[in-house]
């Protein structure tokens, strides 16, 4: 109980946060933070714990978003049904991508997933009849005008994702994922069916990312291939979120999402820096890899020591 106290306080704070009357802009930033922390947690499951570094998470995000968009635009069903439906669609996609990419190891897997993300973007751009192509999909009647309910929904999804990741990692699956990350051949000779367990990690990771994508469609009301299949804004920022926050830690993706989203807004709102935001992200990543290779959460003891040395000695 005592151990859970900080988490409960954080949850209560998050629950009452929108009630203090934050501006629509701040609410939007909060929703973005939570979306990225969900995708980060999902990526972490596959990349952080299972060691399969994906550069193509935009594929799952985009397909999730388009699942919601297409049932709305083609079938006239509420796009909210896209959330449950995207689980099935994206899991099926994950199986296909897994079948192709999981036979590759290390950097080749990363390249394979990167290619899959781009393939899907080009497909969405050209499948005009189905996806509307570059025109995208627009939801004309939004569910809510304000952002509060969207905030609560994505917050619930984030809490669900957090719990799911925690349960998975502390179970047999978690042990198997980490074993595969540390040494695939050793894992295999310990009786672990590495192909199956990597596929499970990929499907879980993909499905969660897909739900986030489906939510994004509902939340933004507009998507096009360049936004939801974006290599930089989705695939690479997701990796950065996890790297900055802490690979293979429970809170890393959330901390990383807060830092990355606020940093991106800060840089973009400054006209003299705005154009250089990708460069600045790159520099940040280099610093993190050199000085905090385990991310802020992973290297927290190191950080605390550093500040104690620099600050007042106790």
């Amino acid at each position: 109980m005592k151990k859970n106290l900080p988490i409960i306080i954080i949850l209560i704070l998050l629950a009452v946060l929108p009630l203090v009357g934050l501006s629509s802009y701040i609410m939007h930033i909060l929703v973005l933070v939570i979306i990225y922390s969900i995708i980060g947690m999902a990526w972490n499951l596959l990349g952080g714990y299972c060691g399969q570094v994906s550069f193509g998470h935009a594929a799952y995000f985009g397909v999730g978003a388009y699942t919601a968009g297409i049932i709305y635009s083609k079938l006239g069903v509420s796009a909210w049904w896209g959330l449950p439906l995207s689980i099935f669609v994206v899991t099926a996609l994950s199986l296909i991508i897994g079948f192709i990419c999981l036979r590759l190891r290390g950097p080749y897997f990363a390249l394979g997933t990167l290619a899959m993300g781009e393939v899907l973007r080009v497909t969405a751009e050209n499948l005009v009849k189905f996806t509307g192509g570059d025109v995208g999909i627009l939801i004309r009647e939004r569910t809510w005008v304000g952002k509060i309910w969207y905030y609560y929904i994505i917050l619930l999804l984030a809490i669900g994702t957090y719990l799911l990741v925690k349960i998975v990692i502390e179970s047999k699956l978690g042990y198997y994922f980490v074993s595969i990350r540390e040494d695939q051949d050793a894992a295999e000779s310990m009786g672990i069916d590495t192909t199956t367990y990597k596929t499970i990690a990929l499907c879980l990771s993909g499905a969660i990312t897909g739900i986030a994508g489906a939510f994004y469609m509902n939340y933004m009301g507009y998507i096009d291939p360049k936004v939801v299949f974006n290599l930089h804004d989705i695939s690479i920022v997701t990796i950065m979120v996890v790297m900055v926050g802490g690979v293979a830690t429970y809170w890393g993706p959330t901390i990383g999402a807060i830092i990355m989203v606020f940093l991106a807004e800060l840089i973009r709102s400054n006209p003299s820096l705005g154009a250089a935001h990708q460069t600045l992200f790159g520099i940040l990543l280099i610093f993190i890899i050199i000085f905090l290779p385990n991310g802020i959460v992973g290297d927290f003891p190191k950080l605390r020591k550093l500040f104690r040395l620099g600050g007042t000695p106790t």
């Binding site: 502390e170 179970s171 047999k172 042990y175 198997y176 980490v178 074993s179 540390e182 040494d183 051949d185 050793a186 894992a187 295999e188 000779s189 310990m190 009786g191 672990i192 069916d193 590495t194």
Partner: protein, 240 residues
């Protein structure tokens, strides 16, 4: 009936013949030493038995059933555990977690996996080090960890690939004791080793490979006198 039977196994990598028509079998409960000069094909043979490589020709039978062409994890499930020549601990996991991960193979839940793991750690004497990150272990204990991890899969047969390399004499003696105790539990062992003292002390029978071919098979005494073995190790008598 023999527990493991290696039947006319050949393994070629392109033009290189790593194993040529090797046949022998292991009886239940025995310790078989596999020796030979560097590059003789010992580890390749382990990789064939363990399922990392399918044999180019021939087959491997375990308890009368063909296991060549199965995957390593399936072969492990059937009851063959192995260790690696270059130790491969799961570095960023504690010793205990390493063993729990492999104990899950026979456990229905985490509690049972934990019990199996602790039992195996007590058996090999790593219990005190169970909360250490495995990358921080000294070499001797890493070798033990490999064996513990293999034991936690509850094998009927264990393949030990140079578990003694790099150990000091007292660690070697300790490990000889452990291996004898493993055999006392009824586990059959095939061991690759370079230390003649260790292999002579441990093995019931020895198989000698040279350039991928089996050149001798017999008790340690017979092998020590075999002219072909002496030639393989010390060179031809004329040129010596």
């Amino acid at each position: 009936m023999s527990l493991l039977e290696i039947r006319n196994v050949s393994k070629r990598f392109g033009g290189l013949t790593a194993l040529a028509d090797v046949s022998y079998s292991l009886n239940k409960g025995e310790i078989l030493g596999l020796i030979g000069p560097n590059g003789a094909g010992k580890t390749t043979l382990f990789n064939v038995v363990n399922g990392f490589y399918p044999p180019t020709k021939g087959e491997v039978l375990f308890k009368g059933e063909k296991i060549s062409h199965l995957k390593p994890h399936q072969i492990c499930k059937l009851g063959i555990g192995r260790t690696f020549q270059v130790v491969r601990p799961l570095r960023r996991m504690t010793v205990l977690d390493n063993v729990i991960a492999s104990a899950f193979l026979r456990a229905k839940d985490k509690a049972e996996a934990g019990e199996i793991a602790l039992e195996a750690l007590r058996f090999t004497g790593l219990y005190e080090d169970r909360n250490v990150l495995s990358k921080g272990l000294p070499l001797g204990n890493r070798k033990k960890l490999e064996i513990t991890r293999a034991l936690a899969t509850r094998p009927e047969m264990l393949l030990l690939d140079e578990s003694f390399a790099g150990l000091n004499p007292s660690e070697q003696n300790e490990l000889i004791d452990i291996i004898r105790q493993i055999r006392a539990k009824g586990i059959t062992i095939m061991v690759i080793e370079h230390h003649m003292k260790v292999i002579m002390a441990l093995s019931d029978r020895i198989v000698v490979l040279n350039y991928g071919e089996k050149i001798a098979e017999g008790t340690p005494l017979e092998i020590g006198k075999n002219p072909l073995v002496i030639e393989a190790y010390l060179g031809e008598t004329e040129s010596a």
